[in-house]
């Protein structure tokens, strides 16, 4: 039993070794994904270029602009004569928004303590617009509180009535990298193990070598285990690659236990390997296996909360997302890495991942028993 399984493991490593392109892909996937998610897919808003249309040119208007400049959210990239000039700059994508200070702003503020300011945001990217909008309002409100205090002759150090002290836990700088990169562990594990396992088995069918294997004393279980082992190694290699680059380059903090993270990832492999086996029991060609893998992977990624929070989805989709194993893995991985939680706090998702793994493996085994390899 062991000898035959080992023979298949050795052979499978040879196949991988003889196919340098797939080999490169398997080792580069984590790097490429890390760079993409770490840099490109960030939803953080920092130094958003905005334009200023100041019709007032007064001391208070300059003071307001300084407040905006002082926040890290915006950079004042241009002073424009009027709104149409601002619009054309936003149209051309040079600016992402603008502040319009009407004539008489300083005078109104002085006399009545009230004044209006316009703020426009390019809403093509809703999540950036959202953040920019809140930031603009926050800056405005802070300024306005200051104005009120001055009018009431209260020293600015004095306590305001209600002091809301917001504090962000786990990810105090609210960097999306800290959220994305741990999530990547779940998706890359799924991709490597599910797709590669499916391909490795379907390939034998495509080559016609399966016919030769079936007449040897190799049992289906030995074949499957032997084929899967090399990809488990690669999956863990990729996982460690992500952790190392994530910590060392992107400064993602790991607050929890790394051994726990590895153990729970191994638990999840049961599920993704079973999915790969199921795909291979349906697909006749490697191309079909690819399509099926993406057919499972893409909805999983969107429903798992990898990009968008599950809580923001419609009720019906939230129910569907309960059936996506990746969702629980992401909860586990983010929990361990960002929150530093241990097993007691992860009971629910760990149980879900275990159940998925057992059920899917049983289904895959039943399918293999029925149709043979």
């Amino acid at each position: 039993m062991l000898r035959r399984t080992l023979a298949i493991v050795i052979k499978e490593f040879r196949h991988i070794q003889r196919d340098p392109r797939s080999l490169a892909v398997m080792f580069l996937i984590p790097v490429v994904q890390l760079v993409l998610l770490g840099y490109a897919a960030t939803t953080d808003v920092q130094y958003l270029p905005i334009g200023v249309v100041d019709y007032d040119h007064s001391l208070p208007s300059r003071s307001l602009l300084n407040a905006y400049r002082a926040s890290d959210y915006f950079t004042i990239a241009a002073y424009l004569p009027d709104e149409s000039a601002l619009r054309s700059e936003v149209d051309r994508g040079k600016l992402r928004g603008g502040i319009i200070i009407p004539a008489g702003y300083g005078r109104d503020l002085e006399k009545t303590g009230k004044a209006q300011v316009g703020f426009v945001v390019d809403g093509s990217d809703p999540s950036i617009a959202q953040t920019a909008f809140s930031a603009a309002q926050a800056v405005g409100q802070a300024k306005s509180a200051e104005v009120v205090r001055q009018r009431l002759h209260i020293a600015s150090e004095a306590e305001p009535g209600i002091d809301v002290r917001a504090r962000v836990w786990y990810n105090p700088e609210m960097r999306s990298q800290n959220f994305m990169i741990p999530g990547l562990i779940g998706t890359v594990l799924t991709l490597i193990t599910m797709l590669m396992t499916a391909l490795a088995i379907v390939r034998e069918r495509e080559w016609g070598t399966i016919e030769q294997l079936v007449v040897t004393p190799v049992k289906p279980l030995e074949l499957v285990v032997g084929k899967v082992i090399p990809y488990i190694f690669i999956a863990f290699w990729d996982l460690i690659e992500i952790l190392v680059i994530g910590v060392w380059w992107f400064k993602v903090p790991i607050r929890g236990s790394v051994p726990l993270l590895l153990q729970l990832s191994a638990l999840y492999l049961m599920t993704s390997l079973a999915l790969g086996l199921l795909i291979s029991s349906v697909a006749n060609t490697q191309q079909e296996a690819m399509f099926l893998s993406y057919f499972i992977l893409l909805p999983s990624i969107f429903l798992s909360g990898f990009f968008f929070p599950v809580e923001a989805m419609p009720k019906a989709l939230q129910l569907v997302s309960d059936l996506v194993p990746l969702k629980y893995v992401l909860i586990i991985v983010r929990g361990v890495i960002l929150k530093g939680v241990g097993l007691p706090d992860l009971q629910g998702p760990v149980l879900a991942v275990t159940l998925f793994g057992i059920v899917l493996l049983l289904v895959a085994a039943a399918r293999f028993r029925k149709q043979g390899i």
């Binding site: 000898r3 035959r4 080992l6 023979a7 050795i10 070598t209 030769q212 079936v214 004393p217």
Partner: protein, 316 residues
């Protein structure tokens, strides 16, 4: 080279016994109630055109395909029930080349040896022997992908006999291989048969069928004749074969085909083979017919029938 029937009977009896074997795929009957036996140590040829049920039969014998009906015994084991035991003692070459093209010659042999549980020391020795046997000495580290037809075929045979099986199932092993390589391949089969191995080989090459100790003709899922090539030629042919040389074979073919007394008229190069009930009377009839269409006969002789003549006569 070919051993007598008596030699074969002295060996330990039957390697394969098949009775009432039928395989249906939906409405299509691929194998229709066939029965045959293979003696231990003989080269048994399963001869038939493509789609006649040869591969289906082999796959059932190996337990890869469930029969719809019938009994199969291979090396005294019941199939499909005891297929596991059979597989340990048999070698199989499927129709498609089934070694790993991205592994080297030596790696392929090592893999199949390990899978069959050949002990390491013995495996090293067997691998060396097989590499020499396949004519691949010094090329053990070459990728199998780079081998051409004949070498691949001999290597695949080598991988199938690595674990020293008692019986070999070869499914059209020489399809698409050049004549010289085919000859070499058959020489290897004789060597294996001399070592006492039973060989069950399917083919649609008539010349290869002549090399077998015994044959079964299969056509549309039915066995139409069995026996040694000599017996088949002597007993399975109703009538005689006349070989005719004429100046215009196409014209002669057309004219002879119109006469129902000639059960078979076929063109072999520039010569015609005509199967007739009785040669003496037919000669005059042929001369007459061909004279009427202006074809002159330069030679007309009775020849022993070829296997192809027998096969065609049997499937009519």
């Amino acid at each position: 080279m070919v051993r007598s029937m008596n030699d074969l009977m002295d060996d330990a009896g039957f390697a394969v016994i098949v009775e009432g074997l039928t395989k249906k795929f939906g409405d299509f009957t691929a194998v229709d109630d066939i029965a045959f036996h293979v003696l231990r140590g003989e080269i048994f040829g399963f001869l038939g055109p493509n789609g006649s049920g040869k591969t289906t039969t082999i796959r059932m014998l190996l337990g890869l395909l469930m029969p719809t009906e019938g009994q199969m015994t291979v090396l005294d084991f019941q199939v499909p029930g005891q297929a596991e035991q059979v597989r340990l003692r048999c070698g199989y070459m499927s129709q498609k080349f089934s070694l790993y093209e991205d592994l080297t010659v030596a790696e392929n042999l090592r893999f199949f040896g390990r899978v069959y549980g050949v002990p390491p020391r013995r495996l090293r020795r067997r691998s060396r022997e097989i590499i020499v046997m396949a004519g691949l000495a010094g090329r053990g580290n070459e990728l199998t992908r780079n081998l051409s037809g004949g070498w691949r075929q001999r290597l695949a045979l080598g991988a199938a006999i690595l674990h020293d099986p008692d019986i070999l199932f070869l499914d059209e092993p020489t399809a698409g291989v050049d004549p010289v390589s085919r000859r070499q391949f058959w020489d290897l089969l004789y060597t294996l048969a001399d070592q006492g191995k039973t060989i069950f080989v399917t083919t649609h090459y008539m010349d290869e069928a002549e090399n077998c100790h015994r044959l079964a003709f299969i056509h549309r899922g039915r066995i139409v004749a069995t026996g040694s090539p000599q017996t088949l030629k002597q007993t399975q042919m109703s009538g005689e074969v006349l070989e005719i040389e004429v100046d215009c074979p196409e014209e002669a073919l057309r004219s002879l085909k119109t006469d129902p007394t000639f059960t078979e008229v076929a063109l072999y190069g520039r010569r015609l083979h005509v199967v007739v009930p009785e040669a003496v009377g037919a000669r005059a009839q042929i001369q007459h017919l061909l004279g009427a269409v202006g074809v002159s006969v330069s030679r007309m002789v009775v020849i022993p029938p070829s296997l192809e003549d027998v096969f065609i006569a049997r499937v009519r």
